[in-house]
Symmetry: D2
Subunit: 98 residues, 4 copies
């Protein structure tokens, strides 16, 4: 699946998008660590479940940004190159994400 022509580096929005993604991911990592602390400190389960819902929502944000970037760069480029397999690949991924 490695595809050197088509990744963050190969797109014009590269650096800005990467920074935004890395910031979001680092916040999510902190949220997960926070949930571990909550579990360790016997915090009320309903509060822990709510924190998990927050992480899911934050992950959803990353997913949307990444899916948009992928569709607008890699998917379009590969279709223009006549490589339609990218459609089956992205459909499989979308089904997993749904």
């Amino acid at each position: 699946m490695e595809n050197n022509k088509c990744n963050f580096d190969g797109t014009h929005h590269s650096e800005e998008l990467k920074k935004s993604m890395l910031n979001r991911l680092s916040r999510i990592e902190g949220q997960i660590r926070g949930i571990s602390r909550m579990v360790d400190n016997d915090v009320y389960c309903d509060d822990v479940l709510n924190q998990i819902a927050s992480v899911e929502s934050a992950l959803n944000g990353v997913k949307k940004i990444l899916l948009e970037a992928h569709m607008k760069s890699c998917v379009v480029e590969q279709i223009l190159d006549g490589d339609y397999d990218v459609i089956d690949e992205i459909l499989k991924t979308i089904h997993k994400l749904m």
Copy 2:
């Protein structure tokens, strides 16, 4: 929302469950760090999206365990104590998680 009678500590499956939860959360934290590295190294977006789907599935596992523990301890106990507000609370949480 703090509720001292009803948390991991107050349930009989406490230590085993906490350990399993903390292990799962620590693996998820590692997966998130891995996704950050993928983004940083310009790995192909479709592979990154698939890793996000894996994290979602791992989070789902944590959610199920925690929801089950919460329902079987706190929710039951509070209902037996005549505190039916716990139902509205858990319904709100379930809606967020759906």
Copy 3:
């Protein structure tokens, strides 16, 4: 699974709730018929997909109402009766719905 003590009929909100549910379900049935007509008339797929998203959202509404009614009547009653199997049953259902 038939349980005569615990259904719409056995709850105090019975008639109002049943009517609201039946209205929502009849609207959803109409939406599905509308989608069939769209497919039959070769309407643009993206518009059909949006209609499916509307049905999912309407079904979600029915699900929430029904889950709330179930938790507040049957689940509470069975817990008070000492029948804790209802918890495993509802957890299995919630997992399917998530």
Copy 4:
């Protein structure tokens, strides 16, 4: 949103796909009618919730087929025609469906 060049009629898999979609939708319509009957007959709520989960899963099947058909025909064609707005349109739809 009407787009005459790009619908079921304009694709090579047209008739077979339409029939399969219409069959699935007609089965879903029947399932919804069945749920109305269950509600009307005061069937145990947990069983009704499980039937709703079945409808969601059946709708998911329709969604996948339709999304695949749309991506492989309309989306590809419009990208090849230089009309990249189709990407924003499909991303918006995918977000609603997720």
